[in-house]
Amino acid sequence: MSAVSIRNASKVFNLGKSNQVDALRNVSLDVKPGEFVSLIGPSGCGKSTLLRLIANLLEPTNGDVVVNDKPAAQARLDQDYGMAFQQAGLFEWRTVRKNIELPLELKGWDKNARALRANEMLQLVQLPEFGDHYPWQLSGGMQQRIAIARALAAHPPLLLMDEPFGALDEMTREYMQGELLRICAATRTTVVFVTHSIPEAVYLSNRVVVMSPRPGRITKVVDVSLGGERNEDTRNRTVFFEAITAVREGLRGMHAAHVGLGNDDR
């Protein structure tokens, strides 16, 4: 039993056209229930594409994606996962509470059940007094916490996050990482997390998946043996630095292979 199971998945954009892009080639990955897995790599390595395959926002060109022991398409219809993006993406015309209720509304929950769950989620992200505010009245970090509350409102077993803290300043970012770990521990949610920050990936994850571009593929998987309990001291532990070094080497190895290819930004 796995939360996510990807078998030989490939994704080609613009197949057969002159601007064909091999976004992913033969990627296989298993994520166990309760596990926290980060996808890391340079721009264009397909980490966001991989996340979207899991979310069934994209269909793989080849291969299988199984989420929660069902085909990804069915898992999406059943709302087996919640999703959070770099931009909190809260609806500015809805109050914080109504934003959290959005997925429940779409699931057809009645008003009382929605209100109850929204309160529970506001407690979980420790912003109980902000339910009737509008998103634009909140700081970036608060907005992102509300976005996480919204993603988890329907209690999905899986949380997919696409660089959710990328737009936050360093202080807020580290605070949010701690918050995310606390929330995931409390809800026992499986997480697949896209980032391009090495310390962030290591601090949060049980496993860090290193990816490389052209074509997008997995080059290395780093196990992080930091244990369950992580706090600010974790960032000073030797194991933390060793894992960071391992991830960095994984990324650097691929970089060396690409020296001479020129423009690496694409």
Partner: protein, 280 residues
Amino acid sequence: MFVAALALVVVIWETYKALGPADGGTLLGVRILPRTSEYAMPHVWDMFSRFNRPEVRGSDRSVFDAVLAGAWYSFRLSAAGFVMGGVVGVGLAVLMARFKLVQRGVLPYLVVSQTVPLIALAPLVVSWGGKLEVGPFVWPRWLSASVLGAFLAFFPIAVGTLRGLAAASAASVELMQSYAASWTKTLFKLRFPTAVPYMVPAFRLGASASVIGVVVAEISTGLRGGIGRLIIEYAREATGDPAKVYTAIFGAAALGLTMAGVVIAVDVFVMRNRPKESVS
């Protein structure tokens, strides 16, 4: 500021009237300065005092009442046109947002439609309407004027709404997809709310356009009862009663302002909880 601007216009009008040549200025036989005689440029206070006097000698109906009644009639026609234009405009925008093919096929024609002169179209619509009879429904004459108002109003509404419907961010569209929300649900929960800041100015344009459409249609089809008809009737009397036509023009201006005011009130209401920044 608005009052000051208005006062300035009055001052300029009266100053020119006092100082300008009574027969206007001519250069090589072409008149380049307007005449300032009582017939061409009545005093501002004459225009206003005209409101209080009877519409025709011996009548107990004052011009004010006549203009008010005319403006009210035209207002209702414009409102009907505005509503029709709104429904058609929003409907077209939704279709165009839903089907790219429709957008590519229809949008150019919408642009072309607005280049057809309204004056040319007005008699056509009246004659088409006159031939239309569906069961007990007989096309009333006023409907032609409303349709022409709608014809002008739907365009900015369709274009503005379409732009608004397309303004939802990629991430929020993906979010709705991740909830397995249908296109219709996405439309009402995401796209329409996103479009509101774009639709508000579009509807404001549409409102004033519907007034213009109705007044022009009234004038060119000679429809009785509205402010457009009053403008021509009073203009015919301009030689004997030059101030009178201005009362009808003021009425038309007030009509346009009222229409815009109604839309602004709705605007303030729907935008009350939005961040205070504007889209352009």
